[in-house]
């Protein structure tokens, strides 16, 4: 198989070769497309996009707390298509978790650690599931909308060997 040379061609092949991987497609200035992806098929889709779709670089993974649900957004860059592709995964507010893409793009590992640290979205199969910015033993996910300001005594992590 040859690599794709344009985004419409890539999208057509994607729909044919990875069925049911996307549930919606929308446009946004600055990116090739925004694809809504169901959580169970994200790893399958990501592997195809890396190997066949020429999206060799995962530049960003971020989480959004919409209060009634959570969202994980991936930004992928393709050198051949000279553009970004945006993937959006909607997760439930209670116990949000999605497959890790750390095995597909190594660059996603730190972004996923940060998203877990600050928003509490679990990434199943993550190779290094530690906190990134807060100390180990920290009890909160502080960028959640439900997080409230607290006294410093609550935030302090007593163990010194972290």
């Amino acid at each position: 198989m040859t690599a794709v040379s344009s985004w419409p061609e890539a999208l057509a092949r994607l729909k044919a070769e990875v069925p049911d991987a996307i549930t919606g497609e929308s446009a946004r200035p600055g990116v090739l497309a925004v694809l809504a992806v169901p959580a169970p098929s994200i790893r399958r889709l990501a592997t195809w996009l890396r190997d066949e779709g020429t999206f060799s670089h995962c530049s960003l993974v971020l989480g959004i707390d919409w209060i009634d649900h959570m969202e994980v957004v991936y930004h992928l860059w393709s050198d051949a298509l000279k553009g970004y592709l945006e993937l959006s995964v909607t997760l439930p507010a209670e116990d949000p978790h999605v497959d890790s893409l750390g095995g597909v793009w190594g660059g996603a590992i730190w972004h996923e650690r940060e998203t877990w640290d600050l928003l509490g979205i679990r990434f199943d199969g993550h190779p290094d599931p530690r906190r990134l910015l807060m100390p180990e033993g920290y009890k909160f996910h502080p960028l959640r909308k439900s997080f409230e300001l607290r006294e410093p005594e609550e935030l302090e992590v007593k163990s010194r060997h972290v």
Binding site: L133, M134, F140, L149, P152, L155, S159, H161
Partner: protein, 201 residues
């Protein structure tokens, strides 16, 4: 024989002393007898005390010298946390030249006697900062430089920032400013020198 023994004092109160099983009750020694030390026993005691007295005298004589040497050669840890570290670095440059006060930044906490906390301290870094502080040999002093180290600054209510580094260990001098200019840092160091002279001189 019981494991407790009771003795009646002149006032009429009863004191119960717990003893281990099998122990005989300790003989009561009158205070006068303890205090009455013969001259034979007194001389070695006096010699020991004389040694202590000599040591203390030497300390009294050398303390001002060591204090003078220590306060005029404060070695801060070369530690930069945030934007105050830029002012800290400028203070050691050609324009302000903190080295003329004997202040030389060192790279190992074991060679330092002054910790200048120049920036925002996060909860994650607080453990490392305490480790650095504990690695420094006594006598040691700490300066909180800038509003963040003093009281958390603009990040006081943040989820990740220590609101004042004095929550971690004692601070001797606080320097206000966001960031304080190098002159303010030098003023803080000179105030610390005065504090050392007054407190331990």
């Amino acid at each position: 024989m019981t494991d407790t023994t009771a003795s009646t004092h002149s006032a009429g109160t009863t004191v119960v002393t717990h003893l281990h099983k099998g122990d005989s009750p300790a003989p009561e020694v009158p205070t006068e007898q303890i205090l009455a030390v013969s001259a034979k026993e007194f001389i070695p005691l006096w010699k020991e005390n004389l040694q202590g007295l000599v040591n203390k005298g030497m300390d009294t004589l050398t303390q001002p010298l060591f204090n003078w040497a220590g306060r005029n050669s404060l070695f801060p840890l070369h530690l930069g946390l945030a934007c105050c570290a830029i002012e800290f670095a400028a203070g050691f440059g050609a324009r302000w030249d903190a080295e003329r006060f004997g202040v030389v930044p060192r790279s190992s906490p074991r060679q330092c006697d002054l910790l200048i906390i120049n920036g925002t301290v996060t909860w994650k870094f607080s453990h490392k900062l305490i480790t650095l502080w504990e690695q420094m040999p006594e006598p040691k002093w700490a300066i909180a430089m800038g509003n963040c180290a003093t009281g958390g600054g603009p990040f006081r209510t943040a989820y990740s920032v220590v609101p004042g580094v004095d929550k971690l260990f004692p601070i001797d001098v606080y320097i206000a400013g966001c960031p304080p200019r190098p002159e303010a840092m030098l003023d803080g160091i000179l105030r610390l020198e005065r504090l050392i002279r007054e407190r331990h001189g």
